[in-house]
């Protein structure tokens, strides 16, 4: 197991190098010039040329890339062209909110999704099953901003249980987390349901039933552990995506997370920030996948990595 983890981390370096090439090319292929953005509406061509030289944008792409990678190895993600802040500092200012939001969302999605999915599977082809499927479809389909505004209107504006917007500790993340969690719960519920339906048909389930085990125990002890593998995969992917920011929800709730930082950087062509952030997101996503794989072997001892 330890050897496997080390091997995965080493291959992660290769992955991240590949990511850095893609990031670099992608950023430099976006039309739009950071120099004109910095200099404002009335820049003269001379001023633009000087600014491009100062930013190093007049150098060949390969030289710019080598500088970028060199800085990466030194642990330096660069400095924002606009705010003058270190990219790492900007990310760390915003990441805690995104992190908490992602964790809360995944917890909500897991609890409701797995619960509803399991109920639907056990009650297959009944009215309960159809209600769960319909509800999960609704959760998947409803646009995030609509759910967000609906929740804000009721719980923040009318009932005044939560702040309408902004970050005031974990309490203020509940509405955004529910917004995100509802959509994810729909996916989890459907995944759990179909996975559980497969499991219910297995011989060992019939054996457990024949031995007189209680229904609850059959489902929780024999069924769910076997059904949970693909659900964990789904949760891992969702968690990784959330760690990259949930832009729409961040906008509606005025949360200053990583997603909104990314949008701002892109609209201004703040290249160092874009590069640094995408790299960071890729790193988080890859690490999340590794953790998910490790969770597999705890859930199902037959899955092991050497």
């Amino acid at each position: 197991m330890r050897r496997y983890v080390i091997k995965r981390l080493l291959s992660l370096v290769g992955t991240l190098l590949g990511v850095s090439v893609l990031i670099f090319l992608m950023v430099h292929l976006i039309p739009g010039d950071p120099a004109t953005q910095i200099l404002g509406q009335f820049a003269t061509p001379e001023a633009i040329s000087q600014m491009r030289a100062k930013l190093g944008l007049d150098q060949p792409l390969w030289q710019q890339y080598m500088r970028f990678v060199g800085n990466l190895f030194a642990g330096d993600l660069g400095t924002s062209l606009f705010t003058g802040e270190k990219v790492w500092d900007q990310i760390m200012n915003r990441f805690p909110i995104t992190m908490q939001l992602a964790i809360l969302s995944v917890i909500i999605a897991a609890i409701f999704g797995i619960l509803l999915g399991t109920i639907a599977a056990v009650k297959q082809n009944t009215i309960i099953d159809r209600l769960v499927v319909l509800t999960s479809l609704l959760g998947i389909s409803a646009p995030g901003f609509w759910i967000a505004l609906f929740l804000i209107w009721i719980f923040a504006y009318k009932l005044a249980l939560f702040p309408i917007s902004g970050y005031e500790g974990i309490h203020s993340l509940l509405l955004p987390a529910i917004t995100l969690g509802m959509a994810e719960a729909g996916m989890i519920a459907r995944m759990t349901r179909s996975s559980m339906l497969e499991v219910i048909k297995q011989d060992y389930m019939r054996t457990a039933e024949a031995k007189g085990a209680a229904l609850f125990r059959i489902i929780l002890s024999h069924g769910l552990p076997n059904a949970i593998i693909p659900v964990v995969t789904m949760l891992g992917l969702q968690f990784g995506a959330l760690m990259a920011g949930a832009v729409v929800v961040e906008t509606v709730f005025s949360l200053q997370g990583i997603g909104s930082l990314a949008i701002e950087a892109i609209s201004k062509r703040d290249m160092p920030t874009i590069q640094g952030m995408v790299f960071f997101m890729a790193l988080i996503f890859a690490l999340t996948n590794l953790i998910v794989d490790l969770i597999y072997s705890r859930i199902d001892p037959r899955i092991h990595f050497d």
């Binding site: 739009g32 009335f42 606009f82 705010t83 003058g84 504006y157 917007s165 909104s260 062509r269 969770i295």
Partner: protein, 532 residues
Amino acid sequence: MKIHRWKQGALSVFVATALIAGCSLQPTNQAGNDTSAKGNTLVIASLTDPDSLDMHKTSWLSMENSLIYEPLLTRDASGKLHPRLAEKYEISQDGKVWTFILRKDVRYHSGDPMTAASVKDSFDRLLAISPVKGLAGPIEKVEATDEHTLKVHFSQPFAPFVNVIVGGLVSPLDAKKAKELGDGFADNPSATGPIIFDKRERGASLTYKKNPDYNWGPEYAANKGPLQFDSMMFRFMKDDDTRLMEFKKGTVHVLYDAPPNSVAELETLPGVKIEKAMDVGNKYIAFNNKHPLFSDVRLRKAVALSVDRDPLVQVALNGFGKPVYGPLAPTIYGYSEAIESKAKQLYTRDLGKAKQLLAEAGWTDSNGDGIVDKDGKPLSVEMLVSQEPAFQRAVQILQSQLKEAGIDMKISVQEMTTIKERISKKSYDMALMYYGWFDADILYLIFEKSNSTSRTHYNNPELDVLLNKGRLEMNEQARLKIYEDAQEILVNDMPWVPLWVSETVIATRGVKGFTVNPYTQGITLHDVTLEK
């Protein structure tokens, strides 16, 4: 037993992750996020967090990052010039030396007195590091000839300088503090304003506190001493619905840049007042004047004559704006009522005239499909437009209006950054654009030969002569005449199509005396009071 271990393992993963999140979380100052509009704090809902609070490092001065700075001269709400940090000023006979006599009672937030030497240091810093220093003109050097006398030397006369000052570009900052703090000055700025920087949570809020020693308010303010509230906070929210709900809830006093279509609803709320402030610039259609089609003045005029500006203002802006036909907005120094009237007379919508001009240029509807064509090719042009909602609504109206004249306009939605790049590369037909500046010198920045490559690619030697003279002429009446002549050329040649001036809509509640000065685009804080 296996189940038990599984549950324990899963729980420990979540707990560990939550702990990591908790440890990495920066301490949140609850007081800084107090969103109830209480405790004598003026709360303003705003759209955009400024990129830097260091005035010399930002490329965009806005209300949020400029209120701590004060200019040497300013204008009141009617546009009249007033002394500010400078008691008086004079210009040398040759126009190259501007002399300012500074007030003697002004202090920076650090406690240091504002002297001519400190203002010189501020100028030197601006000229050394500001990305937009070119806008300040051809300054050769700045000197402090005594404790309160400042001289600015230009390599050649620069008449727009008074409006550069009013616009706030060269306002003094505490250069000594800036030198001490280096890059950290942006996180702890010091200047002469009635408010002092308090704290900032990037992307979320920006808080200032009252300057208790302030006693140099402007002539036109009733209150010249310290502000009448203890602090003010900008809260940054991008989503219109969220901002509206915060305002309705009462957590913010001022909804800055309220969505125009929300005004009818806001006015029904008790205690709500709607203010509006005209921008210092136009929205306009930028032609590619090097384009095969639009190098022909007749086509440009045909477009101008196809446009009906009133529906643009009523529908796209919900009435919060003013149609313009001439080059300058009424808030810009150098605006001419005579030119505006003439332009309006010439370019009020007239489809008959538009079609006639198109026909003269060889474009007629030969196949009866409603679109004019020439040699079998239909007149089809592309309009670049940003995602901004008002622009989106406007461009659809323009599309149908031009179609009635036989012009097939296709809409291409792009990011503003991309639009600017395509304009500079002449890779466009038309674009819906905007500008903002305080002086008619804006025409030099847009149309003068060495500058127009980044805007309209328009070249007119006669206009160049006038625009250069406008920078050199120090006599005010003569200068205004120069710009009137320049504007007349623009009206006759129509290298762009001015459309409207926007008005920023501001909703307030629980506040008295909150106004925005259109000539400085700033809030006059001095007479603002909070209702209990």
